[in-house]
């Protein structure tokens, strides 16, 4: 595999968030990312099974050899892949956190930018796979809701494009609403910074899981949140509440790092316990990690379904 969890694969520098930040059109961005990502994979990511034969096409390296039409190979001595009409029954929805804390960014991209790119890419990818794509944005309430549909790619991308963070966030209330809105089971990708206690997070996502949705969680964090490299004594202002406290970073850094790590660990364990795929994303790192994690999850979900 040419991609690792820790770094950017050769030839995929185009997925660098800083580079993506210069692309204004989300659809173009998503297509660029997805196509660029897919060309680096040795195996075709498109999954799904159907009884409706569509056509043959020559085998390409990376295709699943199980899908080679051996009969045709016997007659022609050439490898062909049997293509079927993809399964279109899967609902794919992105639940995007628009709380004010998502507007933070220590470099060119804010967490919300990163999340929007990720959501756009995943939606585009799913749309290619003929999933029905939808979007729910929320802070302490549901902000926008795009129901899953085969035709809603543009709507989703447009909604993502105009999404902005500004209000305080809260997971539990909007998740309950979403649970009521998304009655048909599907794949739910939750993108948030999860600035709540782990128990509250799990409690909020619990109803979704209970409804039978496959939940994939992307925890978006800025490198400054993870490393806390501040030095000068300053007043730290909470982006959601406006509260300000004086902070001497050099004094608090150790405690902070310990607490954030404990928080991440608690989330990871809690999600694993609830069979929720959890991925921590650093906004300074390329998107390919997120995409890769998504593909793994889809692959695993396709096997289990």
């Amino acid at each position: 595999m040419a991609i690792s969890r820790s770094g950017t694969a050769a030839g995929t520098q185009f997925l660098d968030p800083a580079v993506l930040g210069r692309i204004g059109n989300l659809e173009l961005l998503a297509r660029t990312v997805v196509d660029g990502f897919l060309t680096g994979l040795h195996r075709s990511p498109y999954l799904g099974f159907s009884v409706d034969f569509a056509e043959h096409r020559p085998y390409m390296p990376g295709d699943d050899i199980r899908r080679i039409d051996w009969r045709l190979f016997a007659r022609t001595d050439r490898h062909y892949i049997k293509l079927f009409e993809a399964d279109t029954n899967t609902n794919f929805s992105v639940l995007l956190d628009l709380s004010a804390s998502m507007s933070y960014g220590s470099h060119s991209l804010t967490k919300l930018d990163y999340a929007r790119y990720l959501a756009a890419c995943l939606t585009f990818f799913s749309s290619r796979q003929r999933d029905r794509v939808g979007l729910v944005t929320f802070d302490h309430d549901v902000v926008d809701y795009v129901p899953p549909s085969m035709k809603h790619l543009d709507t989703v991308l447009h909604t993502l494009d105009r999404a902005h963070a500004g209000r305080p966030g809260n997971l539990e209330a909007p998740m309950l609403q979403i649970t009521e809105m998304l009655r048909r089971k599907g794949i739910l990708v939750v993108i948030s910074d999860f600035y709540e206690e782990p128990e509250a997070v799990l409690r909020a996502l619990g109803p979704l899981r209970a409804r039978g949705h496959d939940v994939i969680v992307f925890h978006v964090m800025d490198p400054y949140e993870l490393d806390f490299p501040f030095e000068e004594a300053s007043g730290f202002e909470d982006l959601e509440t406006g509260e300000q406290i004086p902070v001497i970073p050099t004094k608090l850094k150790g405690d902070y790092l310990q607490m954030i790590q404990a928080h991440l660990d608690a989330l990871e364990k809690g999600f694993a316990k609830n069979r929720i795929d959890y991925t921590l994303l650093n906004t300074s790192k390329p998107l390919d990690l997120a995409l890769f994690q998504y593909l793994l999850a889809r692959e695993r979900l396709s096997k289990t379904r």
Binding site: S101, Y104, F230, E231, E232, A233, G235, L239, I245
Partner: protein, 709 residues
């Protein structure tokens, strides 16, 4: 010597030092707000409030506080107060200035010798690092030894001090001392003032201000007892022409100061060094009298005369010198018309004839033509109501170009040839009558002009009483000078220069036809001034006073001083001259194109001649002492010292002391100007602090996160 402040109230501004601390603790925190996604973790961490207020950049804070403090100090105008410097040998090296009065009053008794002894005593007390200067003064001040510690040189300079003929003036001497002290780098200075302290030598407003740290030590060498002094204050020398010869009757005015009883004084007159008369005069104490000598015939030029009094303690004012020369009559030609009335010049001739000293030699010509012979020996011409011909006008042109002067009086028959119209100061117009009312008057006189100068003082001649009933109009040219106007603005008297001479035009009659000026008392001196001005004769001065300066290259000055023509004495020929001073010293006066000044420092006779020549009657200038010095009224030496030295010598608590002390403090502060340096250093600190602060801020801001919307 201590650091003090001229405006200590500004030191309250030192409280401003807390400003950077407050800014550091408040504004700095507000400026560095970091937006952070959530404080849920940070809030859980216990922290100490005091930690926030910790000052991280002590160096920056110190720079700001120091700069502010320096700024405050600069506004408080600090200076090192040197007024508390000790006085005396123990206070360190001194700059000593000894001022010795050499005015002629110091010749009384042994005043000068005692002054020299005191000076020597001062020099003997000099410390090894002290320096001393020796200055002698009377009207002026002369440094004869400047800022030296060489006692032999000082002693030698002291030996040369002698009494001069000048009067006492403390101002110049103290200014010299001030200059020496200001230029000295020694911490303190002493000015020893050795004099008999005459009050006339100090008017209290000489602008002398000795530098801080210096003092004045007055040492009076005046005779303790009052002296009985007689002096010649004035000599009048009226002249008369008797049998064609000039006779002078000298009258001397004698003043006696002091004394206890009346005494008889023998007043002696010397001429050319020989005593010719002596008259007794009985004078009461503090009284004045006059002695009139028998007339003597003045026949020789540069006759020197002296009025002597018997010896008394103050010798210099016992003699009064003068120089006389026979006066030469001024040739005046009056021209009147051949057909004019016999009395047309009655008043004019009468006025010119009225002079005891025969100063005018008046001739009369009744013709319209002037012959060359008529102008021989004539310096002034009055054309009184006559119409001359063109040839005469041309002769007059030559006469004027040679230095002569004419006055054209335009009466009923007066006129001027058109061929020589350029000689007049304007165009002559028609007659105008002023018969309405009481006639016209003279409304404007140019009192700065020599003709009218003697009338400028009050009660010196009233021209307003004269009535003018008819006059001619004159349109003056640009080169003309109007000397008098009638009350209607028309020209009465105008002048224009022709060569070395001049033409005056009087626009009405000069006798009592068109006006009654001739009947006024002012007429006679007016005509005399006109004639003397036209003839170019200046009033002679028989003596000068010590301290005056004569320019031997200035003809006017020489005419005044020499009493005879300076041309005759050869002074105007640009040759080398030598002046023999009364003390017998030769003072070369080399030939030059510029002025040749002869300072008259001694009383007596200055003789001026060409080097190597020995004329019988050389050019002589008489010089007498300034009689201000004869007034021996004393000033309190301490009072004088208080007015010029550092104010600490004044009585503490007095208003004078307060004002003087404040002036002295301001003076010290102004001289030192420490505030400039403090401002420069404060500015430098501010710049340094700004640079460092910016650098620190840039480095710190690189680690701050931002939130965008």
């Amino acid at each position: 010597m201590s650091l003090t402040f001229l405006v200590p109230l500004f030191l309250l501004g030192i409280a401003g030092v807390v400003v950077p601390i407050v800014v550091h603790l408040t504004r700095r925190q507000r400026r560095n707000v970091v937006h952070f996604p959530s404080l849920m973790f940070l809030e859980k961490i216990p922290y100490q409030e005091q930690r926030r207020r910790r000052i991280q950049h002590w160096f920056l804070l110190s720079l700001r506080a120091l700069a502010l403090a320096l700024l405050v100090f600069a506004f408080a105008r600090p200076f090192v107060d040197q007024s508390s410097l000790g006085l005396g040998a123990s206070s360190g090296p001194r700059e000593v200035v000894v001022l010795i009065d050499q005015s002629y009053s110091m010749a009384i008794g042994d005043q000068l010798d005692r002054a020299k002894e005191e000076a020597q005593r001062v020099f003997d007390q000099l410390g090894p690092l002290d320096r001393a200067s020796l200055v002698v003064f009377s009207r002026g001040a002369y440094v004869i030894a400047r800022s030296t510690s060489d006692r032999i040189r000082l002693r030698a300079a002291l030996d040369t001090v002698a009494v001069s003929s000048g009067a006492t003036r403390f101002g110049p001497a103290l200014k010299v001392a001030q200059t020496i002290l200001e230029e000295s780098n020694l911490p303190s200075g002493d000015v020893y003032l050795l004099s008999d302290f005459q009050r006339n030598g100090w008017n209290g407003d000489e602008g002398v201000r000795l530098p801080p740290g210096s003092r004045v030590i007055p040492i009076s060498v005046a005779e303790g007892s009052a002296i009985d002094n007689v002096m010649v204050t004035d000599v009048t020398l009226p002249r008369q022409i008797v049998a064609g010869r000039e006779r002078v009757t000298p009258t001397a005015r004698i003043v006696r100061r002091g004394g206890t009883a009346a005494r008889e004084i023998a007043v002696t007159l010397e001429l050319d060094g020989q005593q010719i008369q002596s008259r007794p005069l009985l004078l009461e104490p503090n009284a004045a009298g006059a002695v009139t000598f028998q007339p003597f015939t003045l026949s020789q030029p540069h006759t020197t005369g002296t009025v002597h009094l018997p010896e008394d303690p103050l010798l210099a004012d016992n003699s009064h010198h003068f120089v006389l020369s026979p006066g030469s009559a001024l040739g005046v030609l009056i021209v009147e018309g051949a057909g004019a009335a016999r009395d047309v010049s009655l008043y004019l001739r009468g006025a010119l004839d009225v002079s005891d000293d025969g100063r005018f030699d008046v001739r009369l010509r009744r013709a319209s033509a002037i012959r060359p012979v008529d102008l021989d020996g004539v310096a002034a011409v009055f054309l009184n109501d006559v119409q001359i011909d063109g040839g005469s006008a041309e002769r007059l042109r030559e006469f004027m170009e040679g230095g002569g002067g004419i006055l054209v009086a335009l009466g009923q028959d007066g006129g001027w040839p058109a061929s020589a119209a350029d000689l007049l100061p304007g165009t002559v117009g028609p007659m105008e009558d002023r018969v309405q009312g009481r006639g016209g008057r003279l409304g404007y006189l140019e009192y700065d002009h020599p003709v009218f100068e003697v009338f400028s003082g009050p009660r010196s001649g009233d021209f307003t009483g004269a009535r003018f009933y008819r006059a001619r109009r004159l349109q003056p040219t640009d080169s003309a000078t109007v000397l008098a106007r009638f009350d209607d603005g028309s020209v009465a008297l105008a002048e224009v220069g022709i060569g070395q001479g001049k033409v005056l035009v009087w626009m009405t009659s000069l006798d009592a036809f068109w006006n009654d000026l001739a009947l006024q008392p002012v007429y006679l001196p007016f005509v005399h001034r006109l004639a003397e001005y036209l003839g170019g004769r200046a009033e002679a001065v028989p003596w000068f006073v010590t301290g005056q300066v004569v320019d031997l290259a200035n003809p006017n000055a020489l005419e005044t001083a020499g009493l005879v023509s300076s041309r005759a004495a050869g002074l105007l020929d640009g040759l080398d001259q030598v002046a023999l001073t009364p003390s017998g010293a030769n003072r070369p006066m080399p030939a030059s194109d510029g002025p040749r000044y002869l300072p008259l420092d001694e009383h007596g006779f200055y003789t001026v001649r060409q080097p190597g020549s020995d004329p019988d009657r050389p050019f002589v200038i008489a010089v007498n002492v300034d009689l201000e010095e004869s007034n021996l009224t004393r000033i309190d030496p301490e009072e004088l010292a208080l007015q010029i030295e550092a104010p600490r010598a004044a009585t503490a608590g007095s208003a004078t002391f307060t004002v003087a002390a404040e002036l002295q403090r301001e003076d010290q502060e102004r001289r030192q100007s420490l505030w400039r340096w403090l401002l420069v250093v404060a500015l430098g600190l501010f710049i340094t602090e700004t640079a460092i602060s910016n650098w620190v801020s840039r480095r710190g801001s690189g680690a701050q996160g931002v939130a965008t919307g």
